[in-house]
């Protein structure tokens, strides 16, 4: 690794002075510059690209809003760009690393208070440093019958994941849909409460999202217009019953019929949770490695795939859902769901008692039950010491859309000698198709293949009308560039807001392709 760069256009003397002032705000321990090991933890070691291109110059970790305001004042004074992270564990999308080398990471992990849990109205208010694990433990230790909706990794931040429009697996799986109320610090230090929170003695701050007039919460997600310091999230009341299930399907092209069958079940909420249709290798790789079935080069051949599927008693597609509610309701819903999926030849049905000792079923069952865990990281052993970037286009919930996406993404991967490792997450009216591009962390040639493949996938998806919902640091500009209808009208709106709220361009430059004026001009 090369030495860490200074922020662009900032002299060593000015940077040292800025660091001294920030140190004066947070204390010596929390201005991280000389502690190489600690500073390295802010690098994107998961990246297939050049990690020096996103290396921070330092990190600063305030403990409260007052310290955030003081840090922002220093940043404005010296024109130091900051890169805001919550828990900074968003590996696969960049971790804690900034989009641009030299930024100072504004690490909010010390702001880790659970401000409120309201049992009556089923919500929590959290600071940025609260992880899913911590919120879950907080509820469990107090025997509060409310469930969080965790993203797959337990160390992910509740606020950060919601702000990045991440998803989970319970009926509250679309996280931004169940967000209500924000506190945001603007670049000039102004603290803003959104929605009902801006009324005097606000009694519905975390109950009614919209308030009066323009509703602005959305502009602070996947963006760089402010620093979110509190967020309300609705929690799912524990249902009287819970039964996770899995349905396996034998053929690759079954994804068409599966998706057609799921759509009415989802829209009518007979399947209430954020259900997933998981591809063969994603399902298998938590438990086995590729080398156990195939030691040749390139894509795993069909014969080996079928052997692996048979050994593990899984399908080419594996649908996960859950029943929630009193037994009569679950029994009734299951009859409808089973009857629907039985139309697919070879469909097989499993409950928890049928999959004892199955690590893949176990972690999915936990996620759909609101229990955070870390099992999914096992996927990265597919090739040995692995890493990943995710390509995640949106799709309508149609068989044609699913099959078209699956075919072109699988075939493109195979042209590059890369296994298709994907899943479809079905939301309210959409599907997130997540393609996990796993690569060997210590193989530079393999990383180059993945980078080239990613570029081709973006171009191909765009030409077919599919946009990505979220992406890694290295691809933010490229994906942003695909949202270009009417001469970049949406991008120009974002730039106008950026220039108005952050004229010095100190907050997360380049986040989601939104650059401050000085960087655009350069």
């Amino acid at each position: 690794m090369a030495a860490n760069q200074l922020p662009q256009g900032i002299s060593a003397e000015a940077f040292a002075a800025a660091c001294d002032e920030m140190r004066g705000v947070v204390g010596n321990e929390w201005l991280i510059r000389d502690n190489v090991q600690h500073l390295n933890s802010y690098r994107d070691t998961y990246s297939p690209g050049d990690i020096d291109a996103t290396a921070p110059s330092a990190a600063v970790a305030p403990k409260d809003v007052t310290e955030v305001q003081k840090i922002l004042a220093v940043a404005r004074k010296y024109k130091i760009p900051l890169w805001t992270v919550s828990t900074g564990r968003n590996y696969g999308y960049g971790g804690a690393a900034p989009r641009k080398a030299g930024c100072v990471v504004l690490d909010l992990k010390r702001m880790n208070r659970i401000i409120e849990v309201n049992e009556k109205h089923a919500y929590a208010v959290v600071e940025p440093g609260v992880s899913y694990h911590e919120l879950y433990q907080h509820l469990k230790q107090r025997d509060i019958k409310l469930w969080p909706d965790p993203a797959a990794p337990a160390w992910g931040g509740v606020l950060g994941n919601t702000a990045d429009r991440g998803v989970g697996y319970t009926p509250y799986g679309e996280h931004f849909t169940v967000q209500c109320g924000m506190q945001v610090v603007l670049a000039d230090g102004t603290v803003v409460e959104t929605g009902m929170g801006s009324t005097a003695n606000a009694s519905t701050r975390n109950l009614y999202k919209y308030g009066h007039g323009a509703w602005v919460d959305g502009i602070f997600t996947q963006s760089n217009f402010g620093v979110i310091t509190q967020m309300g999230v609705w929690l799912l009341p524990e249902p009287p019953g819970y039964r996770p299930y899995m349905v396996t399907f034998p053929e690759e092209d079954d994804i068409h019929q599966i998706t057609e069958l799921v759509r009415p079940l989802k829209i009518s909420m007979l399947i209430p949770n954020a259900a997933t249709t998981v591809g063969l290798i994603w399902e298998a790789a938590v438990k086995v490695s590729k080398a156990q079935y195939y030691t040749g080069s390139g894509v795993m051949p069909d014969s080996a795939r079928r052997k692996m599927a048979a050994d593990l008693d899984i399908g080419n597609w594996n649908f996960y859902g859950a029943l929630y509610g009193p037994d009569p309701i679950m029994d009734n819903n299951w009859e409808v769901i089973k009857e629907s999926f039985s139309q697919v030849p070879g469909a097989k049905f499993y409950f928890a008692e049928d999959r004892k000792g199955d690590a893949a079923f176990d972690y999915r069952a936990k996620l759909m039950r609101g229990i955070p865990n870390m099992t999914e990281f096992g996927l990265l052993n597919w090739l040995g010491p692995g890493s990943h970037v995710d390509f995640s286009p949106m799709s309508p919930v149609t068989g044609d859309g699913a099959l078209q996406q699956f075919h072109f993404m699988r075939d493109t991967c195979h042209k590059f000698g890369v296994d298709y490792i994907g899943e479809f997450l079905i939301g309210w009216r959409d599907m997130h198709h997540v393609l996990m591009l796993v690569f060997k962390r210590d193989d530079e040639a393999h990383k180059r293949v993945i980078k080239e493949l990613f570029e081709v996938l973006v171009d191909e998806a765009t030409s077919k009308g599919y946009g990505e919902y979220r992406t890694h640091l290295d691809y933010m500009d490229k994906i942003s560039g695909t949202y270009n209808w009417n001469n970049r009208a949406l991008a120009r709106v974002n730039e106008a807001i950026k220039d108005a709220l952050d004229p010095d361009g100190i907050l997360s430059p380049g986040k989601s392709g939104i650059w401050p004026r000085k960087d655009r001009d350069a």
Partner: protein
């Protein structure tokens, strides 16, 4: 060279198993966190060397990772080492880095065409110790590795690389690829 004289706890990826310290533990012994998994015969042999005989099937690192972070933050651990899948090593590394830890030794252990290849990184001294054990072993290699790691406490950042290989039958349950490591705080 420090010796493995005490244990705070030991962990399987699937369950936390309190470890009874061996006889002769000294009060000022370095506190060592050992992390392994019940994924295959090799890791179970490694675990058994430390008195762990559990083989609960599962595999959620969340069951120990947050406790590890708390103990690292509270300076309750001097060394962390283990034998595991690579993903587990990554999680432990990312947990330990912010607390000033870095690798003093790393090994990759791969079954390739009826051979077992060990790729080692560390100081010359640490490589000699580990390689010597793995090259001339009479007991299962994971047992030799467990004993070797116990004497690497004074290692510094990896500076040398070495490979050792031997003919080997591939265990039926093997993932074909494991990693071993030692993390220590930077002075």
């Amino acid at each position: 060279m420090s010796t493995r004289r005490g244990f705070l706890a030991s962990t399987l990826a699937v369950t936390t198993v309190p470890l009874v310290a061996r006889a002769g533990v000294l009060s000022d012994a370095p506190m060592v966190r050992i992390i392994t998994e019940s994924t295959c015969a090799d890791t179970l042999r490694f675990a058994a060397r430390f008195g762990i005989h559990s083989s609960v099937v599962g595999g959620d690192p969340a069951e120990y990772l947050f406790d590890l972070e708390r103990d690292l933050r509270d300076h309750k651990i001097d060394l962390v080492y283990g034998l595991s899948r690579a993903s587990t090593q990554f999680l432990v590394e990312q947990t330990a880095l912010p607390h000033g830890y870095q690798f003093g030794y790393q090994g990759q252990h791969r079954y390739i065409k009826q051979r077992l290849l060990h790729s080692l990184s560390g100081t010359r001294e640490s490589i000699d110790i580990v390689a010597g054990r793995l090259e001339w072993h009479t007991r299962p290699w994971a047992v030799e590795l467990a004993d070797a790691l116990g004497v690497l406490g004074s290692s510094v950042a990896p500076t040398q690389h070495s490979e050792v290989s031997a003919a080997s039958v591939i265990p039926k349950d093997s993932s074909r690829h494991l990693v071993s490591w030692l993390l220590r705080p930077v002075a």
